[in-house]
């Protein structure tokens, strides 16, 4: 109605929100990749990678859900695209944090990577408390 004359207001709002979500995803991907290069040790790099997977994949997928629902010239196929994107987003939300959590926990417990430039290491302190 305002920018896209062939869409009704609801579809237009969904389209604009979808585009904004995709742009947030682009931002998160850039931030994550900068963090992967610049951060000093394994754990904070893993954190940066998670910014890339959650922010850079889940937000755009939700955006694609909204966008494909808005673009009515796609016909019936838009519901397939929307459902696929939505379910993929849910799957990534569930599994990606668990993956990075398991990686970080395994790396810390097996002491394969030094927690070197650090401010504090609460996990180690907890382990010491359990031992005592």
């Amino acid at each position: 109605m305002f920018i896209f004359p062939e869409l009704n207001p609801l579809e237009e709002i969904a389209l604009i929100i979808g585009i904004i979500l995709t742009l947030i995803g682009v931002f998160c991907d850039i931030v994550g990749s900068i963090g992967m290069v610049r951060f000093p040790n394994f754990f904070v790099r893993l954190h940066a990678a998670t910014v890339g997977t959650i922010g850079g994949a889940v937000y755009p997928l939700f955006g694609i859900t909204l966008m494909s629902l808005a673009l009515n010239y796609l016909g019936v196929m838009r519901y397939f695209i929307a459902t696929g994107a939505f379910l993929t987003a849910i799957a990534i939300v569930l599994t990606a944090p668990v993956g990075s959590h398991a990686l970080a926990r395994a790396a810390h417990r097996s002491k394969t990577v030094p927690v070197e430039p650090k401010v504090c290491d609460f996990l180690k302190e907890d382990e010491r408390l359990i031992e005592e």
């Binding site: 000093p40 569930l94 599994t95 668990v98 959590h101 398991a102 926990r105």
Partner: protein, 275 residues
């Protein structure tokens, strides 16, 4: 915080290499390296498949399946798939034979292998994911004659549930739920038997005088006998639905057996061999 200002030369070379690869790939794709780009009109090969896979007007040669790949695999190219299934069956028998050492039990009591598994977060999500995997793989198998997928794909998908359970919980988690090689071996034999009977069934009917041939699905001009393409709202594509289901059972149980055997620690084999 120590962050090196100067990057090593290898990192620069890797970065430049990746950038060059991306640019080259882009140029190659623009120049048409992906080959045939889809056109508006139907290709001759697609016409062939549409004519022979599902053709409501000329049912003489059809396979009654809207999935072209499935109709090729289980109908037109059926012998190939049958032998593929038997090769897979024999390969797993080989794997079991290699790892079969008398004295190594498949089921461990809790004392020998005490596995606590991964953390609570991982366990909770893995339970959810295993449920998803089971549902999706059954859907792939049952829809194999309608949408992309099929028996082998569904079987390999459901075996991932076993793999996840071994990684996140432990082998004992599966043993408590009676998922052992002792259970899985008969199940996969049942699956392969089902495929064999479905394939040879029409030939047995031929003995009674009606013209039919091995792995026949739909009636052909020279063999008037065939499976029912669908029952009510359920489109079975003749016997292809059952082929997919039995292949799913056989492959799923086969991969599960492999994962269960591979998750026996080397320590136990060594302990038995030393005796």
């Amino acid at each position: 915080m120590v962050i090196s200002k100067v990057r090593p030369r290898s990192e620069i070379i890797i970065g430049l290499g990746v950038a060059l690869l991306l640019v080259l790939t882009l140029f190659a794709v623009i120049a048409g390296a992906t080959g045939f780009t889809p056109k508006e009109d139907i290709r001759p090969l697609a016409k062939f498949y549409l004519y022979y896979a599902i053709n409501w007007y000329e049912k003489k040669f059809w396979a009654a399946s809207p999935e072209a790949v499935n109709s090729m695999v289980w109908d037109y190219r059926g012998y190939d798939t049958l032998y593929e299934t038997s090769v897979f069956f024999l390969a797993i028998i080989g794997a079991i034979a290699v790892f079969r050492i008398p004295g190594v039990k498949d089921v461990f009591s809790k004392g020998i292998l005490s596995g606590r598994g991964l953390s609570l977060i991982v366990k909770t999500i893995t339970k959810l994911v295993i449920a998803f995997v089971l549902i999706v793989s059954i859907a792939i198998a049952v829809h194999g004659n309608l949408t992309p997928g099929g028996g082998f794909q569904a079987g390999s998908a459901i075996s991932i549930a076993t793999l996840l359970a071994i990684a996140a919980f432990s082998r004992i988690f599966l043993e408590e739920r009676k998922i052992t090689t002792k259970l899985m071996l008969p199940i996969r034999v049942l699956g392969v038997l089902g495929i064999g009977l479905l394939a040879l069934g029409p030939a047995l009917i031929a003995l009674s005088g009606i013209m039919s041939f091995v792995i026949q699905n739909q009636p052909k001009p020279w063999a008037d006998w065939g499976f029912i393409p669908g029952v009510g709202p359920f489109w079975l594509s003749g016997n292809q639905f059952f082929y997919n289901f039995f292949e799913f059972v056989a492959v799923g149980a086969g991969f599960t057996v492999i994962y269960l055997i591979f998750s026996i620690p080397e320590l136990i084999y060594k302990r038995v061999l030393k005796k």
